[in-house]
Symmetry: C2
Subunit: 287 residues, 2 copies
């Protein structure tokens, strides 16, 4: 059993106590280091990539294969992750490029997920929860604001609160952020636009910026050892036109079919996650 | 292995060829009869019902327990199902009460689901697909209209089609029906309101009546042998206020917490499924 799984429990406990503590950042670094050390001892299996311009491999342990790992984004040392967390701590992110930040985050998220794939049986929940807490911690540290998980809804008869995805309120006169986090979306993604619609209805359109953060949309066929990306760009367009407007959709491994979505009506800005850390200050200034 | 599972395959094949054939109705009756014959040989285990005014039991086979069955709605003979399908065929549904129709449908849906629970391991897909086809077939026969699964979306640049839940178009001047079907809803239910919102946006508010049909919201704790209903009435209210308006929500086993939803703003009409067959002709006449 990898020590990364114990460290994950410590991280989750700390995160639930303090969303943006330095200790939580420290635990993320340790999880990354332990996961990479564990994976470095394993063989890799090259996969048949059906995605133009991207190469993938899996880690192999006995007869088990991990999920697909994007070669270009994976950083075998934890160096980029260390630099990123350090820059986040010192509030000096400008010295890193968005690409370096994306690689650092991708490596942390995918390496721990691979450890779970190989150590556990069909456990999707642990990688999903880790990814959610991980992204939420990074955003909370970047904004210097604690997130909430529910908000009050004005109602003429009786007050009640609405459970939400992560919500960040940087204070009066600043745009607020609605931050759903998913390892992958598939057909469940309509929930994201629907939650944004509820916030638009309750607080006024534009009051909350909807920002979705995803890991990847890859699917590994374990028989054929092929990797494909499962994407629904036409449905996303319909949601963006008829349900609500998402401000940004960030990916760690940005799927090819979503790249052109920012080029025609209804524009959806799908970008690598690293860009968030550079553009967050100007985001929403046009509202 | 129960013959009901083979009959289910024959029903699915026929349904995919002709949504409202007499043969499909015949297969439903046979599945009901076979399922009830299979279950009649098994012992029953009374369950601790945490739902006031409702009693539940499970069928027991070796160490396996079926899902919870509502005593008052379960008809051990297939008599009510036979009468209902016959009345549907002869277009003489007025001789049955809504309660009898609800019992007939509940018995067909729950008995086959129990067979799957006991014969298969963790198979939620088969009962879900059966329920969807079953309800869709009944509605198609009642309306005399074939359903569609996608519709064209007007787009200024290029046409594309939207995959949908079941859609019934009874022709010009008649309200069209958007019919999602679920065995239970939980937090995924926001999809239903979101799809309705898309239809409202594309075709105009009120053009499609949203009608959700569900089996039940019961949850059986296999350790404590307790049955509870998992319901989110406050969230439904928010969806009905801020996403779209569902015209009806029909249940075979109507959950207690949803009963009062039609009594205060924003009214949501949650009713036993049997009522659909009586009120469908007047439904939408007020739009």
């Amino acid at each position: 059993m990898s020590k990364a799984l114990d460290l994950y429990k410590e991280f989750a406990k700390e995160f639930n106590k303090d969303r943006r503590s330095e200790l939580a950042s420290q635990k993320i670094l340790e999880i990354g280091q332990e996961s990479l050390a564990y994976l470095s001892k394993l063989n890799r299996r090259n996969l048949q990539s059906k995605v133009t311009g991207k190469e993938y491999f899996s880690f192999k342990k006995a007869r088990k294969l991990s999920r697909a790992v994007n070669k270009a984004l994976f950083d075998e040392s934890a160096g980029k992750l260390f630099n990123f967390l350090e820059a986040l701590r010192l509030n000096s992110l400008s010295r890193l490029t968005p690409e370096e930040i994306t690689q650092a985050c991708y490596t942390a998220a995918i390496s721990f997920s691979c450890v779970v794939d190989l150590e556990k049986q069909g456990d999707q929940k642990t990688p999903g929860t880790f990814f959610e807490y991980f992204v939420c911690h990074l955003v909370a540290r970047r904004l210097g604001v604690d997130p909430q998980k529910k908000i009050e809804v004005l109602n003429l008869d009786r007050p009640f609160s609405l459970p939400t995805d992560w919500i960040f309120d940087p204070g009066a006169h600043h745009p607020k952020i609605h931050l759903p986090v998913k390892t992958s979306t598939r057909e469940r993604v309509i929930q994201v636009w629907a939650h944004q619609r509820v916030l638009d209805g309750v607080y006024g359109v534009g009051r909350f910026m909807g920002i979705l953060v995803c890991l990847a949309e890859t699917k590994l066929d374990h028989q054929k050892l092929e990797v494909v990306e499962i994407c629904l760009p036409d449905q996303w367009r319909i949601y963006q036109m008829f349900i609500s407007k998402m401000k940004r959709i960030y990916y760690l491994d940005l799927p090819k079919p979503y790249e052109p979505l920012n080029q025609s009506f209804p524009r959806i800005q799908v970008r690598p996650f690293g860009e968030f850390f550079h553009e967050v200050e100007t985001l929403g200034k046009d509202e």
